[in-house]
Amino acid sequence: MPMQRFRRSCVMLVSASLISLGLQAPAAAGIVGTSDAIAAVQQQNDRAVVRDVLARSDVRARMIGMGVDPAEVEGRLAALTDAELATLADNIGQAPAGGDSALAIIGIVFVVLLILELTGTIDIFKKT
């Protein structure tokens, strides 16, 4: 009986400490979420499967470092699956960050014209 109580307190202590680390609140310790189950079947990288506290705190720190308002970070993390968090922990600095306007198209047209001009293929930039 005292043993059981001891184990129970251990489980509660561990749960409480995990939650205080900002763990995505799982329905219960014993339930595997559907996205984790899919990741397990697909054998994605192991960090993706188990609720990875490190990946989460890692991404949190890097988001704040990249200028995200700390008050917004928890909401952003909570919207992601464990697999997405594990991926972000690896590539938040390099993953495509869409931001530029379509004006960049003009840029590439200009570069192509410039190259053609310099190689003498065309002559549209009039020289005096």
Partner: protein
């Protein structure tokens, strides 16, 4: 004649494939109507670097969610990267009660979404692979006779791009495209695995209502799909409906007897329902199936919790009338 035409055809096919495989079709796929434009799609001119929030607001509003780019920017914009990440656009879609369904990388899939009235949020690389310029835009239409794609893009309310240029820019960005689905709506040609990943995403984000609608629709469409039943079990468990959860897990286990996660969840629910003998049996199966996998520590944690909660002699199985899968 035919012999002369063959090398030309082979050359065209070769040119069509940039780096990705299988190669993207060159022209506008013509299985659907020759032209289509979702003219009512809203438009938000982009502020500097804010094409992510603008494009996301466009598809969310088109799906019936009243949200402005200024409200989305704090949810997706990453200041030091001067842009928004794909994962965060997906996350923000979930936060607004929509499933982010990732489309297969074919022009056909893009046009099929348009034909069902949904504009498509997609990533473009406006430069070359080595020096990428990432940009989000919304595909709202196409015209095969004029060979153009029609986009809401940046400061352009209606940008026409030559279809091939558009397709190449999308190809260079990994052909990433999502559709914002109201929970319960499944695209006509949807793939079960893609749809269930989107549904699992809203479940992970904690939107049980949306997840329930999505899993119910998935079960109606694909009744033999174990992941749909697993998902239904998970939302039922979240609602504290142990009987419904156990039944759904049992169905999933019947359809996919070797899935360790399903057995683990079934064991957990059975333990909470007081059915200790059956719970331990299912957990044994889970442990055997998940041995050496990333799920092993989770299954061990389940065992610890079940045994910590077990009260000898006080077990009254409230689901004793059921028969559980072997």
């Amino acid at each position: 004649m035919i012999r002369a035409a063959l090398p030309t055809a082979a050359l065209l096919v070769g040119l069509a494939g940039c780096a990705a495989s299988p190669p993207l079709a060159r022209g506008i796929p013509l299985e659907l109507s020759r032209a289509l434009e979702l003219r009512d799609t809203p438009f938000f001119p982009q502020e500097d670097y804010q094409c992510g929030p603008a494009a996301l607001a466009t598809v969310l509003q088109a799906s019936g969610i009243a949200v402005e780019p200024t409200a989305l920017a704090p949810q997706v914009y990453l200041p030091k990267r001067r842009g928004s990440l794909q994962a965060e656009l997906i996350g923000a879609t979930r936060r607004h009660g929509r499933l982010a369904y990732q489309l297969p990388g074919t022009g056909q899939a893009l046009l099929a979404e348009l034909s069902e009235g949904r504009p498509v949020l997609l990533l473009q690389n406006l430069r070359v692979k080595a020096l990428p310029v990432w940009h989000y835009a919304v595909l709202v239409g196409y015209d095969a006779d004029r060979n153009v794609a029609v986009l809401r893009s940046g400061r352009h309310e209606r940008l026409e791009m030559r279809w091939q240029s558009f397709a190449r820019s999308w190809d260079r960005a990994g052909r990433w495209a999502i559709s914002a689905l109201a929970p319960g709506v499944i695209p006509a040609g949807a793939e079960a695995s893609r749809y269930l990943e989107a549904a699992a995403g809203v479940e992970a984000a904690g939107d049980r209502r949306a997840a329930t609608l999505a899993y119910d629709a998935a079960i109606a469409r694909w009744p033999e799909e174990p992941v749909a039943w697993l998902g239904r079990g998970n939302v039922a468990y979240g609602d504290r409906d142990l009987a419904a959860a156990a039944d759904a897990y049992a169905r999933a286990a019947t359809l996919a007897p070797d899935n360790a996660a399903v057995r683990n969840n079934l064991a957990q629910v059975l333990a909470e329902a007081g059915c200790m003998m059956e719970s331990r049996r299912q957990l044994e199966r889970a442990a055997a199936l998940g041995a050496g996998s990333a799920l092993a520590p989770v299954i061990e944690a389940t065992r610890a919790e079940i045994e910590a909660d077990a009260r000898p002699g006080a077990t009254q199985c409230v689901l004793a009338d059921r028969h559980w899968p072997d």
